[in-house]
Subunit: 191 residues, 2 copies
């Protein structure tokens, strides 16, 4: 077999594996998502930050009210203050940036939690797809934590921080939890 024929053969193989294999990139990315709490010192590119926030906003919302606001925190001092005030978000201290997903109660009092949670899941999935890592750190429904973030960023009373999401390149390779449990699926009846 000469070199030209080998190149053609390898190309066929490559195309076959990549383009006709029965893979679903969306599902693979979802199953591969994990909570990442330790980050490398590598800065995150601004276009990745922009893409994360843009994708987040494509989430559905009740009556399409889109009751979300995003605080993108890149300032190192602010990241440290978040870590100090919200112990469960201490990972923000060594993150490259953090997103605080906020709901506007005046826009959708009944559904801001659901809608902002869908937005948060979008953020976590895009983060995974960009080889970044992040973790959802709850702020709401803890009143003291909500107040601390509201004060730190001088948020109006109607703007409620749902969570803090520290983001960065993972410090080490991490593996996702296996959570599939068929007992949680009930077909046509509870019992």
């Amino acid at each position: 077999m000469n070199i030209k024929k080998m190149v053609v053969f390898v190309l066929f193989l490559f195309v076959g594996i990549n383009c006709f294999a029965d893979t679903n990139v969306v599902v693979d990315n979802m199953l591969n998502r994990k909570s990442v709490r330790k980050y490398s010192n590598k800065p995150v590119e601004q276009d990745k930050i922009d893409l994360i926030v843009k994708s987040a906003m494509s989430a559905p919302s009740a009556k399409n009210l889109q009751p979300w606001e995003f605080l993108v925190v890149t300032d190192k001092n602010l990241l440290k203050q978040i870590a100090k005030y919200i112990p469960n978000a201490s990972y923000s201290k060594k993150s490259q940036f953090a997103i605080i997903v906020c709901g506007d109660k005046n826009v959708s009092e009944k559904f801001w939690i659901q809608d902002c949670s869908a937005v948060t899941e979008n953020i976590l999935l895009v983060v995974e797809s960009l080889d970044l890592g992040a973790v959802w750190c709850a702020v709401y429904p803890y009143e003291d934590k909500v107040e601390k973030i509201q004060k730190l960023f001088k948020l109006p009373d109607n703007i409620v921080p749902l969570n803090v999401i520290p983001v960065g390149y993972p410090k080490k390779k991490e593996t996702p939890k296996q959570k599939y449990n068929p007992k949680k699926v009930h077909t046509n009846s509870w019992e």
Copy 2:
């Protein structure tokens, strides 16, 4: 140029476009997700239903409590009854199946809404990736709707239906809403 050379050229082009283009399938799928309310008569394959539910369960949850349960409704009579009792989920009547995402209040009283909303977003994204269509129809926090679903499926009191998600192959091609709004992004300060 002979036929062999042309084949090689086309292959190079194909590989180049598919494998080295700067596309993010996860983001594209997310931006392409839309609420689909009208479905064709084509049945949905059982392996797709299984994949949707399995992927849904990979969502994060507070303290990893996984406070979710899934009611998968394929029975046509039950789908009609859901449509009757929950007017905003009337699309279930002509859907191929519906998923009712439920939260277990006994497992995570503080976070079942957030966690089940992340699960719901997973469902909607995988549905889009499988060329299916679906729509998030709220049940909770409407007490009357919660009770109706609880009675219909004889759910224990601690199992709260968050929503009904009718699913099927879309009846017609639909386009996603454009929701990107840079005014919703606040960097390092609210103002």
